[in-house]
């Protein structure tokens, strides 16, 4: 592959054709105050072997041999090598859906299967072919609920991922939309009494996350009843969808959306991930994003097509159901391959492993004087632990032992200073848990 796109002579020829004397003339619309002057502050060029060496060393310094207890919307799971091997095939290797989609039957079939699996997991009737990520999928779900109900008010659980709440606010802050937050109760779940009084007949949707940001499972049937009594929709966001292998799917919801990164996509630095959105068939026409359908050709052979594309932005412009329906075809494919490999039994086994590790860790931590797990609600692989003393100091102590000890909740919830959000997936061994517990015991002493 060549990394030098064009020579100075090529550039001169292009400038002559467009009638510009210098390339800077093309950037004149950008105000001079914010235009970069001079060169980027980067070291000089390196040879290929030097670059590889540089990154290998940086990687070994930062991530090797660390045990991570970080979850909070990004989950470290083992991804079988087959996932990457298939993903990197040339036929598949793009994040986009092809514009002349029906040519790429293989891509369409993979998306169709992604949709099928998402509906099987969430208990909904229809799914789109993926969205950008969990946060934007949740925002898209709220916008969709407003279109369905013709209402402009959304009630959010304070236990919804703080960054998801920020993203929604960014979208609607200049529109005539009211966002209301409902607090959580002592169990770590949304306060149902407060929710009841927050939801009125102008409310388009109630948005909750389950497992919520504290790892606690929300009481979906009760929340659905409160929303539906006032004609509002219930949106359930799920950012650890592995939980769906052991937890009842939220079938009382109207839209189930979230993040499918857990399924074969590495945590990276927070992205790229893959969002999903599933709903009831009656809301199909208000669902954002692409949808792949199965049909037959003139000779009766099975084929796949994009359906309802008339509502997408390249056809319907400003009236489209979404203006970022960019899907994440490549990572949706990763999730499809991952789920196919795991199968129903495999996924359940994996989820049970996550569940028992987290519950074992919670039990051990509770035995340490001063440590407690304040929220009594049932949890999956993630939970909150209260620390005696400065949480940042404990995190530092754990880091020295190559353990990334979870998320300090005080940054997002001031009332939860010195509370850590910790996550135990199948990648955290029993030995590592015991090592972490031992560090905590020393900290408490």
């Amino acid at each position: 592959m060549r990394y030098l796109p064009n020579s100075p002579a090529d550039r001169q020829a292009m400038l002559a054709a467009t009638g510009h004397a210098h390339i800077d003339e093309l950037f004149e619309q950008i105000h001079s105050d914010i235009r970069l002057k001079g060169k980027l502050n980067l070291p000089g060029p390196l040879s290929e072997s030097e670059i590889l060496d540089f990154f290998r060393q940086a990687a070994s310094e930062s991530s090797r041999d660390y045990v991570s207890l970080l979850g909070a919307g990004a989950y470290s799971h083992y991804s079988p090598v087959v996932v990457d091997a298939l993903l990197s095939r040339g036929e598949f290797f793009t994040a986009y859906t092809p514009y002349q989609a029906e040519i790429a039957q293989g891509t369409l079939q993979a998306m169709f299967e992604f949709q099928t699996m998402m509906t099987q997991l969430t208990g909904m009737e229809v799914s789109n072919a993926s969205l950008w990520d969990g946060s934007t999928a949740t925002t898209e779900a709220a916008l969709m609920a407003m279109r369905v109900t013709h209402r402009q008010r959304v009630v959010l659980a304070r236990t919804l991922h703080p960054e998801y709440r920020q993203i929604l606010l960014t979208y609607v802050q200049n529109q005539d939309v009211t966002l209301v937050e409902t607090p959580y109760e002592a169990s770590g779940q949304i306060d149902l009494t407060q929710l009841e009084s927050a939801v009125d007949t102008k409310t388009a949707a109630v948005v909750v996350q389950s497992p919520n940001f504290f790892g606690a499972l929300e009481r979906i049937p009760e929340i659905a009843a409160i929303a539906h009594r006032k004609g509002a929709l219930l949106i359930v966001a799920i950012n650890e969808p592995l939980s769906l292998a052991v937890v009842n799917p939220p079938t009382d919801a109207d839209i189930v959306c979230g993040e499918a990164q857990s399924f074969g996509v590495p945590v990276s630095y927070g992205g790229p991930y893959v969002g999903f959105l599933t709903t009831r068939e009656k809301f199909l026409r208000q669902m954002p994003g692409r949808l792949v359908g199965q049909t037959v050709d003139t000779e009766g052979r099975r084929g796949f097509v994009l359906t309802l594309a008339t509502r997408e932005q390249h056809i319907r412009r400003e009236k489209a159901t979404s203006n970022i329906c960019t899907n994440q075809a490549l990572f949706a494919l990763a999730a499809t391959i991952y789920l196919t490999l795991m199968g129903k039994a495999g996924l359940r086994q994996l989820a049970e492993q996550n569940l028992s590790k987290a519950h074992y860790a919670a039990g051990e931590l509770r035995k340490i004087p001063g440590f407690s797990t304040p929220f009594a609600a049932p949890h999956f692989n993630e939970f909150v632990v209260k620390v005696p003393g400065d949480a940042e100091r404990l995190l530092e102590k754990l880091r020295n032992e190559k353990i990334i000890g979870g998320l300090d909740l005080g940054k997002y919830y001031p009332e939860l200073a010195n509370h850590l959000l910790v996550c135990f997936t199948e990648l955290v061994s029993r030995k590592s848990i015991d090592r972490m517990v031992e560090e905590c015991r020393q900290f408490s002493a």
Partner: protein, 129 residues
């Protein structure tokens, strides 16, 4: 072809005014341009529509198009038959496939609309383009 008792808009809607209630639909020309209609999205009785404003959408295999109201007023009824039989828009656009009925707010709005004869001349011109 185009009923003389209807009035027409440049957006290819028709309205039949009976006392102060107007029945609204799309024209035969419009349904032909759209192709096979697969879905019709209509407002609810009690909703308010404004003259020249969108009150719903009609979706064909080719595109989703806005429906524009010829008059202002409150929607008194909607044609629920279209929910399950959107193809009526293709087979009987001037009859069974009426879309909504509106309680007229201002009868003068009707005076600006085209007669059947004027509308036919208008679409002849459209076709020529």
């Amino acid at each position: 072809m185009y009923p003389p008792e209807f009035l027409y808009t440049k957006d290819h809607e028709w309205i039949q005014v009976d006392e102060s209630v107007g029945t609204i639909g799309i024209t035969d020309y419009a349904q032909k341009e759209l192709g096979d209609v697969v879905f019709v999205e209509l407002p609810k009785p009690g909703d308010h529509v404004g003259s020249g404003e969108s009150f719903g959408t009609v979706e064909s295999v080719k595109a989703v198009s806005e429906l524009y109201s010829p008059v202002s007023g409150e929607v008194t009824s909607v044609n629920n038959k279209l929910q399950n039989n959107p193809e009526l828009v293709n087979s009987d656009p001037h009859g069974d496939a009426w879309l909504i009925r509106v309680q007229l707010e201002d009868r003068r709005e009707v005076e600006k609309l085209m007669t059947a004869e004027e509308y036919e001349a208008y679409i002849a011109q459209e076709k020529a383009h």
